[in-house]
């Protein structure tokens, strides 16, 4: 049985590093209410800086530890810089925009790291004196792992003392509970936020630096860590230190034993735990409902009016242009246009649930991917023809949306976002690890449209007809009685319920509807590429939909359409023009979040109204 003990220790050593990173993330969230996507990037930077310092100072003796210390302090300073330069400008925008801003930072850091350190993995030195192992119950166990467990306990104790015995700590805890009151009592919030962000970043950098003796330093460290850290913070309860500690242990130990028992589904297990916890404890183990009383995210504001009749002509002109497109652009233009139209439908479905529906979901890739995999699996295993497969796509997505949505609509705010994220990641993990059925990473290949729809022009018209009709239906739904009811629930939940509207049911149906159209878009996407991969389910697909919807603007129906056209075009052009496409994309997203939080269409409308003198 000694191996069970060893496995427990192994799990705890994984938990140790997780805790360092997650506690920083949790602290930052507690005070600033920002879910910092860039936390993984800071972790990665900590590792890279530590690597360089050990190369520079030499990785032996005290210099090794000095390198780690300097790397974490350096990361803390970088974190403070990010907070002062970027986050200070987005504290007033809705929380999903903040998430987007921190994601832009992720993109920027990725490119900066790539061009500073190069694409190759780097292997740092072993920890001096801790490179070997000690024997526990007759089995060798790496002494460094044991050190990590002890070190994490020290950090936990240190953080506890800092939060409970110092003036700074009291301010941090006060701000976590009620930051407006802290501000009213005369604390300089600006610097409190910066200090907390620096501390959190330092912990992330420390976590990264401590990985040096365990693994090589690589460019994928950021995303793999941030997702794990999210899971930990959400399970433990956002903003709770002991929650982060307990959840790290749960995640680390489950991972270790999962490998013993279910080696095939280790990834699924992680998100399953998260989903189960959130279903039973919607605010995590130690989170409280009070956390949610902070200003309810104003994702979308103001009533959405049907467009002015004059706008009809704009739509007619646009329609004619779309119909004439095959004569105006070449084959590549058509291929790109088909992709834009499919993604416009995807974005429109997200817009429907986020804008009029008022649900800040963060896992829309789930429905897109379900539709896509439904098509691919049916084609591959049952040779189902395209029309039938395209009917099955939205059905699969609706089923998924109804099952997962039932849990989701009971939650709200950032927890809703994280619950939807957990479900999406779970299905992604299934597609990724179920090699025999889904082909795993390889995906499913060779799923092309039949002869009559296979040339680019025919496929373009096919996509245009289906997506156009779907977007029209979505638009119609918004101005139907159901749409008004949905918006009533969004704006005044209590009043809406008082007049007899069933809020949860309405939102649940909304999710189903949005899921259906996302699923159809996913199905069409498969035929445009001839293949499907787990990436259609992963966080990047979610983010793409998100960016398209937000850069278009949430307060207008044309927002997601404009957003998908602009974003798809930008992405393909930028990655063609420059190797620094992540940097460029990150900067564009940042400038949109900071300067045009209304999105392109929203800003345009505002400009028009201003010119007409309707608003000051």
């Amino acid at each position: 049985m000694s191996f069970l003990f060893i496995q427990l220790l192994t799990g705890l050593s994984t938990a140790a590093v997780l805790f360092l990173v997650a506690s920083g993330l949790s602290l930052i969230f507690g005070v600033t209410r920002i879910l910092n996507f860039a936390h993984g990037s800071l972790y990665m930077l900590g590792a890279y800086i530590a690597y360089t310092l050990t190369q520079f100072l030499g990785g032996a003796g005290m210099n090794f530890w000095l390198s780690l210390l300097l790397a974490s302090v350096g990361t803390g300073i970088i974190g403070a810089g990010i907070e002062m330069l970027i986050l200070r400008r987005v504290y007033h925008v809705p929380e999903l925009f903040q998430l987007l801003a921190t994601f832009a930072v992720v993109l920027i850091v990725q490119d900066v790291t790539l061009h500073t350190w190069g694409p190759e993995d780097l292997l740092g030195p072993q920890a001096p004196g801790l490179a070997g192992s000690i024997t526990l119950l007759g089995k060798p166990f790496p002494s460094y792992d044991l050190f990590l467990i002890g070190f994490a306990l020290v950090v936990l104790a240190g953080l506890y003392l800092l939060l409970h015995k110092t003036h700074f700590g009291i301010l941090v805890r006060a701000a976590t509970e009620d930051r407006e009151m802290v501000a009213n009592l005369g604390t300089n919030q600006k610097w409190l936020f910066t200090a907390v962000f620096a501390l959190g970043s330092l912990l992330a950098g420390l976590g990264g630096a401590l990985q040096l003796p365990r693994e090589s330093v690589s460019l994928t460290m950021d995303m793999s860590m941030i997702i794990d850290a999210f899971v930990v913070v959400v399970i433990g309860g956002m903003g709770s230190l002991r929650g982060a500690a307990l959840a790290s242990v749960i995640v680390g130990v489950t991972q270790a034993f999962g490998i013993l028992i279910f080696p095939q589904i280790t990834l699924v297990l992680l998100f399953l735990i998260m989903a189960v916890v959130l279903v039973f404890k919607p605010y995590g183990l130690f989170g409280s409902v009070e956390d949610m009383t902070v200003e309810k995210a104003q994702i979308s504001n103001g009533a959405m009016k049907p467009p002015a009749p004059r706008l009809k002509y704009v739509w007619i002109v646009a329609g004619i242009c779309l119909l004439a497109l095959p004569w105006l652009v070449g084959t590549y233009g058509l291929v790109l246009a088909s992709e834009m139209i499919i993604l416009a439908l995807f974005a429109a479905s997200l817009h429907f649930i986020m804008g009029p529906g008022g649900l800040g979901v963060f896992g829309h890739a789930l429905y897109f991917g379900l539709g896509a995999y439904a098509v691919a699996l049916l084609t591959k295993y049952f040779a189902v023809a395209m029309p039938l497969a395209l009917i099955a796509a939205p059905i699969a997505a609706v089923l998924g949306a109804l099952v997962f949505g039932w849990f989701c609509v009971r939650s709200q705010g950032i927890y809703l976002a994280m619950l939807t994220f957990a479900f999406a990641q779970m299905i992604w993990a299934v597609a990724f690890q179920w090699y025999d059925v889904t082909g795993g990473d390889n995906g499913l290949l060779g799923i092309w449209p039949p002869e009559w729809a296979s040339n680019p022009t025919a496929f373009y018209y096919f996509v245009l007809a289906l997506s156009g009709a779907s977007i029209f239906i979505l638009r119609h739904m918004i101005f139907s009685p159901y749409g008004y009811a949905l918006r009533a629930v969004r704006d005044q939940t209590k009043r809406a319920e008082a007049i007899g509207l069933n809020a949860r049911k309405l939102q649940w149906m909304g999710l189903g509807l949005a899921g259906a159209f996302a699923g159809l878009a996913g199905g069409l996407f498969v035929y445009s590429k001839g293949s499907v991969f787990p990436t259609t389910l992963d966080i990047h697909t979610t983010l793409d939909a998100f960016v398209m919807t937000l850069i278009g603007g949430l307060n207008s129906l044309s927002g997601p359409i404009v957003g998908s056209v602009v974003y798809t075009w930008l992405k393909s052009e930028i990655s063609r023009q420059t190797e620094l496409w992540r940097l460029a994309l990150g900067l564009i997203i940042l400038s949109i979040v900071i300067f045009f939080p209304q999105g392109i269409v929203g800003s345009f409308n505002q400009w028009v109204r201003k010119r007409k003198g309707e608003i000051g």
């Binding site: 060893i6 496995q7 192994t10 799990g11 050593s13 994984t14 790539l114 694409p119 190759e120 993995d121 780097l122 292997l123 072993q126 490179a131 192992s133 060798p140 166990f141 790496p142 460094y144 365990r214 693994e215 090589s216 690589s218 460019l219 994928t220 793999s224 991972q255 270790a256 490998i259 013993l260 080696p263 095939q264 280790t266 990834l267 070449g330 084959t331 590549y332 291929v335 992709e339 040779a383 990724f432 690890q433 090699y435 795993g440 990473d441 390889n442 995906g443 290949l445 060779g446 092309w448 680019p456 590429k529 001839g530 293949s531 991969f533 990436t535 259609t536 393909s572 063609r576 190797e579």
Partner: protein, 409 residues
């Protein structure tokens, strides 16, 4: 009137001649899709090899009198993105041929697309064999090694070294849960059976690529009490595995067969921590003394001031194969290039090589030996040279593998 007609005719003729001359000089476009920014251990050396071959061919007058141009794009090792890039390269840049160095899954996706759209492609870095057998594409040729051949060479070498110690043993496998890993394990099972080793496969671990939890996985494998460990981990996963295995005494008294870790691309990262005595495929380039190879290594050294790596040679071969195929086809017509791939002869630093008619797989020499550390640097010691051609299944075996996939559909 006649004069006007004559003038027009002359002008017309001039234009036509001009147009034809332009056509003759118009470059042959090669679209390059490779994983330049993710797990990019092989991408940069490959790119150097590609550029070197293009420069040499263009200096010598190009192909069919036309210069070669390479348009390089980063696939980010994302199959969806790679297909999008392939679409763009074909419909917007009008490339004639694709060259590709990527993860096996991404290459498979591009191959599936290329088959549908009739675009010839040459593969330079995907050793998983489904690309040439199970999911065969006539428009594709592979100038890279074959995973089957690597595994075959590794097991033959292990039999040479350990003899009967390899019979009736408990084998475990640890490999990334991607095409690369699955394809290698299948080959290992087939080949071990073919040699009558009576291997008892007792445990399998399939960590997600780049997400290996090394400590916990090793404890799990230890429970299977293996005698032989077969692994094809690489990159960050390999580093984690090597470190943990050492600390946990995992490899003591065990035979480790690890095709693919000994190439300089993966070896160099491990440096002095390279484990000793693992059976692996490597590239002992400073010990290969054939004149054509030494000459190539010198030219490479002058051009890039960087140590020669495996995929530099493969990238170079890839461009040479494309040039040879277009010369043989006499044009850039995809159908003709496809036919030209059958039994194509093309020059490489290891002498003239050919593509097999049955699966468009090249036959190259490769080296299997034991991993070792000399003066703090990784090295392949006690190596034997094998040839890909001698280490592939029989033609009937390959047809059976192709058949299997048709039945699966």
């Amino acid at each position: 009137m006649k004069k006007v007609l004559l003038c027009t005719a002359v002008l017309f003729g001039l234009f036509a001649a001009q147009a034809m001359a332009d056509n003759a000089k118009e470059p042959i476009k090669i679209g390059d899709i490779a994983a330049y920014t993710k797990g990019a251990l092989f991408a940069e050396p490959y790119n150097h090899g590609v550029k070197m071959a293009v420069d040499e061919i263009n200096k010598a007058g190009g192909v069919l009198g036309r210069p070669l141009v390479v348009l390089s794009r980063d696939s980010k090792a994302d199959p969806g993105e790679a297909v999008r890039i392939a679409q763009e390269l074909q419909t917007r840049d009008n490339v004639n041929v694709l060259i590709n160095a990527d993860f096996s899954g991404t290459t498979l996706a591009v191959s599936s697309w290329a088959k549908q759209n009739h675009v010839p492609m040459v593969v330079c870095a995907s050793e998983a064999d489904s690309i040439i057998w199970k999911q065969r594409n006539d428009y594709l040729a592979r100038v890279d090694y074959s995973g089957y051949a690597w595994v075959s060479g590794s097991i033959r070498k292990a039999i040479d070294l350990y003899g009967d110690r390899l019979k009736n043993k408990r084998w475990v496998v640890i490999a990334p849960n991607i095409e690369f890993g699955h394809s290698f394990l299948q080959s290992a099972k087939d080949i071990a059976a073919a040699h009558g080793l009576n291997a008892n496969w007792v445990g399998e671990q399939w960590p997600a690529y780049d997400k290996l939890d090394a400590g916990a996985t090793l404890v799990a494998l230890e429970q299977d009490k293996p005698d032989v460990v077969f692994t094809v981990l690489w990159g960050d996963d390999l580093a984690k595995f090597v470190r943990e295995a050492k600390k946990r005494d995992f490899t003591k008294n065990r035979i480790i067969i690890a095709p693919a870790i000994g190439l300089p691309e993966y070896f160099d990262m491990l440096g002095a921590e390279t484990p000793k005595g693992w059976v692996t495929v490597g590239f002992p380039f400073d010990e290969i003394k054939t004149p054509s190879f030494v000459d190539f290594a010198n030219r490479y050294e002058i051009a890039y001031h960087a140590p020669l790596k495996t995929y530099s040679v493969i990238g170079y071969d890839g461009i040479q194969a494309i040039a040879a195929a277009i010369r043989k086809a006499g044009s850039t017509d995809p159908e003709k290039i496809r036919q030209a791939f059958d039994g194509l002869h093309y020059p490489t630093p290891f002498g003239e090589q050919s593509l097999r008619a049955i699966d468009h797989q090249t036959t190259l020499p490769f080296w299997v030996g034991l991993s070792d550390v000399v003066d703090g640097k990784p090295k392949l010691s006690n190596w034997t040279e094998y040839n890909v051609g001698d280490n592939l299944p029989s033609d009937d075996g390959i047809r059976a593998k192709g058949q299997q996939s048709k039945e699966n559909k």
